[in-house]
């Protein structure tokens, strides 16, 4: 996710926007929609994240943050498991590694974590070839992408909190 220097430029929509995600501020009869367009090359988040936001409403107002927190908890467990397997000098259970990666791919796809998912795909390909060096490289990249995603999502939730406070909701 790329928000220029973490500052957001707000303007009226004057061109066709390709929305990456949307925040809606409802204040009585006044509704303001903030449309964010990811301008990085390969999006950290894809349109599946928009799907998650659509599942959030008055009956489930914290749905997105609840799901993302479950994702963080599960992902960190999977990363520990993967790290543990690779640190074992006698490691040979690539099938077990594949199981963890399938789970990580699935959960990452479900929240729209596009780049994390793509690294999992490459990691899985290396594990299917029993390529230990490839797995080690992929593991480092996966940790990096996951940390980047987590930081950006925290920024997003902080911005959302600030926006809500500023609107007096």
């Amino acid at each position: 996710m790329y928000l220029e220097d973490t500052q957001v430029t707000q303007r009226n929509i004057t061109y066709d926007v390709n929305p990456s995600f949307v925040l809606m501020d409802v204040d009585g009869l006044r509704v303001v929609v903030y449309v964010y367009e990811l301008i990085d090359g390969e999006g950290v988040l894809d349109e599946q994240f928009l799907q998650l936001q659509q599942l959030q409403d008055e009956s489930s107002p914290n749905f997105v943050s609840e799901v993302v927190n479950i994702y963080f908890h599960e992902s960190e467990k999977l990363l520990r498991n993967l790290r543990g397997l690779l640190l074992d000098r006698d490691f040979s259970d690539y099938k077990k590694m594949g199981i963890h990666l399938i789970q990580f791919m699935g959960s990452s796809s479900s929240i729209g974590a596009n780049r994390v998912r793509n690294v999992c795909v490459a990691f899985r390909a290396a594990s299917e070839q029993n390529n230990r060096a490839g797995c080690l490289r992929a593991s480092e990249l996966l940790e990096h992408e996951y940390c980047y995603l987590k930081n950006k999502l925290h920024e997003l939730f902080q911005m959302e909190q600030q926006r809500v406070l500023a609107a007096g909701i």
Binding site: Q51, Q54, L55, Y71, S109, S110
Partner: protein, 138 residues
């Protein structure tokens, strides 16, 4: 029974579904997707739980069956449910997209297969199949 009116689902008697998935995130998202569509649903954490729920006498209009699960996977669970005489719509759900792997899952007794991540549109396409098979009326 669900009625499709002008592009949205309206419910007479509540439609029911079972989400079978070991992943907490998918359980949460799929549960919410179905809930938002007005479909009463519960969650089973693996194929064995899904079998046990059916053995207790519960029946569902729709089963969303994950492929890869511990204890009992989706392929085995689907085979067992069909052997038990369960005729509910079973839609397989997985990240796997290799034709052979999808074929293997379909041959276990699925009515439909959807690649993860599930969306409202994908669930509606499954519901339309239930409609076309005669279980839902306009």
């Amino acid at each position: 029974m669900a009625t499709h009116i002008n592009g949205s689902w309206e419910l007479g008697a509540k439609m029911t579904a079972l989400v079978v998935d070991d992943d907490s995130i998918n359980q949460t998202i799929h549960h919410r997707l179905l809930e938002q569509l007005g479909i009463e649903n519960q969650v089973a954490r693996n194929g064995k739980e899904a079998i046990d729920i059916h053995c207790s006498g519960k029946k569902f209009d729709l089963i969303l069956m994950d492929r890869d699960m511990p204890i009992m996977n989706g392929i085995e669970a689907t085979r067992k449910l069909r052997a038990m005489g369960i005729r509910s719509m079973i839609a397989g759900v997985s990240t796997r997209c290799v034709k052979q792997e999808i074929q293997e899952f379909m041959e276990a007794g699925l009515d439909d297969y959807q690649e993860k991540p599930l969306t409202s549109a994908k669930i509606i396409s499954i519901l339309r199949k239930i409609h076309h098979s005669g279980s839902i009326s306009y």
